[in-house]
């Protein structure tokens, strides 16, 4: 993943939805100082949080009966599978976020 400079912020917001871009700006603007707002780590966090939106809102990608799983149509088991996938993704985002915060708290006394 390419390293983004803080100046790239507006363009990235257009690509990533409002909800996830927001996640990356969780530090007050005033403390940006030395550390960039957007780091590769934060991009990964944003992607983790954004992925379920793409998967679930793209209904035509899963609106079918085949293949069945234990007799349950694809439409249903696929969405239930996404409950698990999105849980894992949110957990990853949570762990990465903790890393990010620890790094920042160590960096400047906030």
């Amino acid at each position: 993943m390419e390293r983004k400079r803080p100046l790239d912020f507006p363009s990235i917001t257009e690509v990533i939805s409002e909800g996830t871009a927001i996640a990356m700006s969780d530090t007050p603007d005033a403390t940006q100082g030395k550390q960039p707002t957007i780091t590769p780590l934060r991009v990964v966090i944003a992607l983790c949080l954004f992925a379920p939106f793409v998967a679930m809102l793209w209904v035509s990608s899963y609106a079918r009966v085949e293949p069945l799983l234990a007799g349950i149509p694809f439409f249903y088991w696929y969405q239930m599978l996404w409950v698990l996938i999105s849980t894992v993704l949110t957990m990853v985002a949570y762990k990465l976020w903790q890393l990010d915060q620890r790094a920042r708290k160590g960096g400047d006394a906030r």
Binding site: V65, G71, Q79, V83
Partner: protein, 541 residues
């Protein structure tokens, strides 16, 4: 439906009901604080709940009895379209991961009890705060009423409540008792009561679902058989519409509706006052983020629960009122004693959210109407007193609603409530991240969203209803059928953005922002966020 009262099931039901009643009253002693007479204590449980209590509380709060009854009922009636509840609850958690911790921090720092408190503090606008508060109360009332519908469904199937000819008082007596008891312990214990009862509720629900999802398919010959029968049933033409009853998979036309319903509902869920009350009662910012990773367990349960709708069809359950499909399925498939457990799960499942919702609505009234407009110098003790009384009034109102009006009225209002509450999103979530929006623009955007949403919902006809027949209508400019709430929300944001530019250009007064950027990331233990909460009131007026 079996004739007469199902004695065994009723006995089990009453046993659990009595058990939670005792718990509800004892809850006031649980983690009791020195000063009970503050809204932080009564209305937010002392803001002291850790990860697991918060998990049970939020789960008990968001996945209500009505959900348990209505989601499978929707599947039973129309198939795939009803399953949108699953993607909806999937999307909620990544979404709240981004903004809820910020709300927690700023609320702790400034002692905010409601979302309207925050909006007033952030934008310095009592008008905008009032709009958010009124929307919250309006959206919550029918939601409480629907919890009663959930209890009624269970009582009906157990044979309690009598037939058509029974005197109304005898018929509604069980419901009156249930709500009287609920009102009493909410009054005395506040948020601690539902927090404690939520443990029982969720444990019962998980047991019932686990058993149902294994036991019923075995009895019905496996999922192949269940879905084959359901597929046949959906293919049959509905005489009222001349179209098939439903489908196993949403067709091309239904996909927009499905996606917009999921997204719109996900955006709306944490605008509801009761969701925020449960959130703010947690001990730290970390508790909330951690909860976004464990709450999806409830979504999995909801998905499994939804499958019960198919099982009801395969089991040949025939009910006129779709809401009865699942209770009836339990009664038919389970031995009596376990049916009683299942009914208790639904019944208690109604009590927890009803208690939290009435507390949330009462807090909104007290903080943002009573204190802001009627008695600005109210002491914390007076605030608590008013809140307790209002929580009673709200419940009586909901009861009157259900008993005097047709059930469809409550459902219509609930549908409208979802559309309405979504219109507070720009002020609340927008406000958490930026002060760019102008307060008057937000108010105008809210008004436009409310108006459009209400008119559009009024115009939706269904085979059984002339108005409020559903929550989806054509999206202007796109031509697809989508969730009205989301369309209204987009309109709301557009109006807000355009007017903000205009108002900034003419230099309209911005209002005073009492928050500062670091308030939004403060955590428990930081200076000013520890156990002592700053007194609000003095600095806000």
């Amino acid at each position: 439906m079996k004739d007469g009262v199902n004695g065994v099931a009723l006995a089990v039901f009453i046993f659990f009901f009595l058990a939670v009643t005792v718990m509800g009253f004892l809850a006031s002693r649980w983690r009791r604080a020195e000063n009970e007479n503050s809204l932080d204590e009564w209305g937010l449980g002392g803001r002291s709940f850790g990860t697991w209590v918060t998990w049970f509380l939020l789960g008990g709060d968001l996945y209500t009895a009505y959900t348990f009854v209505a989601v499978p009922a929707a599947i039973y009636a129309a198939g795939a379209a009803g399953f949108f509840a699953v993607p909806y609850t999937i999307l909620v958690y990544p979404l709240i991961f981004t903004f809820l911790p910020r709300l927690w921090s700023v609320s702790h720092k400034h002692g905010y009890v409601t979302t309207s408190d925050f909006v007033r503090g952030r934008f310095g606008s009592k008008g905008l705060s009032l709009a958010v508060a009124v929307t919250g109360i309006l959206a919550t009332m029918p939601y409480i009423a629907l919890q009663l519908v959930g209890i009624q469904a269970v009582l009906d199937v157990m044979g309690v409540g009598g037939g058509e000819n029974t005197h109304w008082f005898i018929k509604d007596l069980p419901l009156l008792i249930a709500f009287g008891v609920l009102a009493a312990y909410t009054y005395s214990s506040g948020l601690r009561a539902p927090a404690l009862i939520a443990f029982v509720k969720d444990t019962l629900i998980y047991i019932v679902i686990a058993v149902a999802i294994i036991y019923i398919p075995i009895k019905l010959g496996g999922f192949d058989e269940i879905f084959a029968k359901a597929g046949e049933a959906y293919a049959q033409t509905n005489p009222a519409t001349g179209k098939p009853r439903g489908s196993l998979v949403p067709g091309e036309a239904g996909q927009w509706t499905y996606a917009t319903l999921a997204l719109g509902s996900a955006l709306a869920l944490f605008m509801y006052p009761h969701s925020i009350t449960a959130t703010l009662s947690s001990r730290s910012r970390e508790v909330i983020r951690r909860n976004t990773t464990i709450l999806p367990l409830y979504s999995l349960m909801l998905g499994l629960l939804a499958l019960l709708g198919f099982m009801a069809i395969a089991a040949g359950i025939q009910v006129k009122n779709g809401q009865l499909a699942i209770p009836q399925l339990f009664e038919t498939m389970f031995p009596d004693w376990f049916a009683g457990v299942a009914f208790a799960a639904i019944g208690i499942g109604a009590l927890v959210p009803a208690a939290i919702m009435s507390i949330a609505a009462a807090n909104l009234f007290t903080r943002n109407i009573y204190k802001d407009f009627i008695k600005p110098d109210a002491t914390p003790a007076q605030e608590t007193k008013v809140s307790k009384l209002v929580s009673l009034l709200v419940k009586v109102g909901a009861l009157a609603f259900v008993l005097t009006m047709d059930k469809t009225v409550a459902i219509n209002f609930q549908l409208l409530g979802g559309i309405w509450i979504l219109q507070t999103f720009p002020a609340l979530v927008g406000g958490l991240f930026t002060r760019w929006f102008h307060r008057w623009a937000l108010l105008a955007g809210w008004a436009v969203g409310m108006l459009y949403g209400t008119i559009a919902a009024y115009g939706v006809a269904s085979p059984t209803q002339k108005h409020f027949g559903g929550s989806s209508a054509e999206i202007p400019g796109i031509g697809e059928i989508g969730y009205i709430g989301l369309t209204a929300f987009v309109l709301n944001v557009l109006v807000t953005v355009v007017l903000t530019f205009v108002l900034k250009a003419v230099k309209a007064p911005e209002g005073i922002d009492e928050t500062s950027p670091e308030d939004y990331t403060a955590d428990a233990g930081d200076r000013g966020v520890s156990t002592e909460l700053p007194k609000v009131g003095a600095d806000t007026h």
